[in-house]
């Protein structure tokens, strides 16, 4: 589905990624873990073409899209829920969902109805402007917006960052449901325990390099791992 090989990226002369390898298969949930500043968001930006990679390959379903403009990568089947949510402030909730909606691969799984069913709260606020929402609602909107492009792989960059515990739980429940429905997901988060419950595989980044990869059982079995790479 998504294959990333030897990805290197830099802002100006400060290199952030030093050869990241990553793969997400059909219907698979993969997490990208690591402390802040280790290059997780940069990895996502490089995958999406928002940052031109210095080296390496990004393939979506076997097609090489390295260095392609973001819209072509998105059309390849990636739906981005960006860090900081970035909902469109001057569009209403419904417009945020509809504006970039698409169904590029046959019949649309996600429509206004199904997204509203997933997030009833959004339906209540459909006439509100993007900047009139709380943080949690903005996050739901950003997820709904990505789903409306009917992607093959949803990428969530810090989707629960800065949210209250109850709202977080709601977001995770939603991810679980997406997984049950066969959606492939690449998720960045720091809440290892919550993710370990339903993610298939994990990748840990440390200073721009992959330092560990494995399944949930292996991750949970090794407490040293968590303390070393993820914790305070």
């Amino acid at each position: 589905m998504l294959e990333v090989e030897g990805l290197e990226a830099a802002y100006g002369d400060s290199q952030i990624l030093f050869g990241v390898d990553l793969a997400v298969g059909q219907g698979e949930v993969v997490t990208l873990l690591g402390r802040n500043g280790m290059g997780k968001t940069t990895t996502i930006k490089s995958i999406m073409g928002l940052l031109k990679p210095r080296a390496g390959r990004v393939r979506v379903e076997g097609r090489d899209l390295t260095g392609a403009p973001p819209y072509r990568i998105a059309r390849g089947g990636l739906g981005l829920v960006p860090e900081g949510r970035q909902v469109f402030p001057t569009l209403s909730v419904e417009e945020n969902l509809v504006a970039t909606a698409a169904s590029r691969f046959g019949k649309a799984r996600w429509t206004l109805e199904t997204v509203y069913a997933l997030f009833p709260r959004l339906k209540e606020r459909q006439r509100n402007m993007g900047n009139q929402l709380s943080g949690g609602e903005q996050q739901m909107l950003a997820i709904g917006r990505a789903l409306m492009t009917n992607p093959k792989l949803v990428i969530l960059d810090e989707a629960t960052e800065g949210l209250a515990p109850l709202i977080r739980q709601e977001i995770w429940d939603c991810l679980k449901q997406l997984k049950r429905e066969g959606e492939a997901i690449l998720v960045i988060d720091k809440n290892v325990d919550a993710l370990a419950g339903f993610a298939d595989r994990h990748v840990i980044l440390e200073k721009g390099k992959v330092v560990w990869r494995g399944d949930s059982a292996a991750l949970m079995a090794d407490p040293v791992l968590k303390d070393r790479y993820l914790h305070v």
């Binding site: 952030i16 860090e83 900047n131 009139q132 943080g135 949210l163 739980q169 919550a194 200073k207 305070v232």
Partner: protein, 250 residues
């Protein structure tokens, strides 16, 4: 009791319906090395912007050595001794390292409404600048164009610029962001040397650095300070582990 060097009283900031900082209060006694940690989106950078005067607060006040500086602009706060660095390297790439620092000296002392004389050759400014550069270990690189310095050296330069402004309170916004291991080590040693010489408020993700440097640590989550204390106390605080590390239910 002596006035705190820096005091935040009930700072608030919201963008639309989104609360970014939520009743933040904090007092740093003179000479303390204090660190703020917290997840992305917790409002750390906004808080630094509010303290330094880049972003106006919705309510609350900032006090510097017992004086209210809430209404002052960023440059005015610098003149009162409140100096900051930036998360994304912020230097003058076309100027030499020396001139980057000399400008900070120039801003601090004497008029800049002088239209004659070569500023670059003013020994009074350059001597102090050299001093600050040597302090951070860039003495030999003074003549290099700042844009040509390595990333780590740029971070050092930023600290030299801040030092040249003679801060009483120094705000460091993720000084280690984007640095490699060797570069980090140099910067951590530098911060170690600054400890106790001025009041320092550090925002940083590198936990090892934070716990090695800070005397006290505050944890910012959802724009609120949920814990504040010695590194050891904060590390073991169950609330911190739940809220920050996501260990729901312990």
């Amino acid at each position: 009791m002596a006035e705190p060097a820096l005091e935040l009283r009930d700072l608030n900031k919201a963008y639309g319906a989104l609360t970014v900082t939520d009743h933040v209060s904090l007092a740093l006694p003179d000479g303390e090395f204090h660190a703020i940690i917290g997840p992305n989106g917790a409002g750390k950078t906004t808080l630094i912007h509010q303290i330094s005067g880049v972003v106006p607060s919705d309510s609350g006040s900032v006090w510097l050595g017992g004086r209210d500086v809430t209404g002052l602009s960023l440059p005015e706060r610098v003149h009162r001794g409140l100096v900051r660095s930036f998360q994304i390297t912020s230097i003058l790439p076309g100027f030499s390292a020396l001139e980057n620092v000399a400008l900070a000296v120039q801003a601090r002392e004497g008029s800049s409404f002088r239209f004659f004389g070569r500023a670059r050759e003013e020994a009074r400014l350059n001597d102090q600048a050299i001093e600050a550069l040597e302090e951070v270990g860039l003495g030999k690189r003074a003549g290099i164009r700042a844009g040509l310095l390595s990333h780590g050296e740029k971070r050092q330069l930023e600290i030299a610029i801040a030092l040249a402004a003679r801060p009483r309170v120094l705000l460091l916004d993720e000084p280690l962001a984007g640095t490699g291991p060797e570069e980090s080590a140099v910067l951590i040693a530098l911060m170690q040397r600054l400890r106790g010489r001025m009041t320092i408020l550090l925002i940083e993700h590198d936990m090892e650095a934070v716990f090695a440097l800070a005397e006290r640590v505050s944890v910012l989550v959802y724009g609120r300070i949920i814990a504040s204390g010695t590194p050891a106390a904060v590390r073991d605080d169950p609330d911190v582990r739940t809220a920050y590390l996501g260990e729901e239910g312990g």
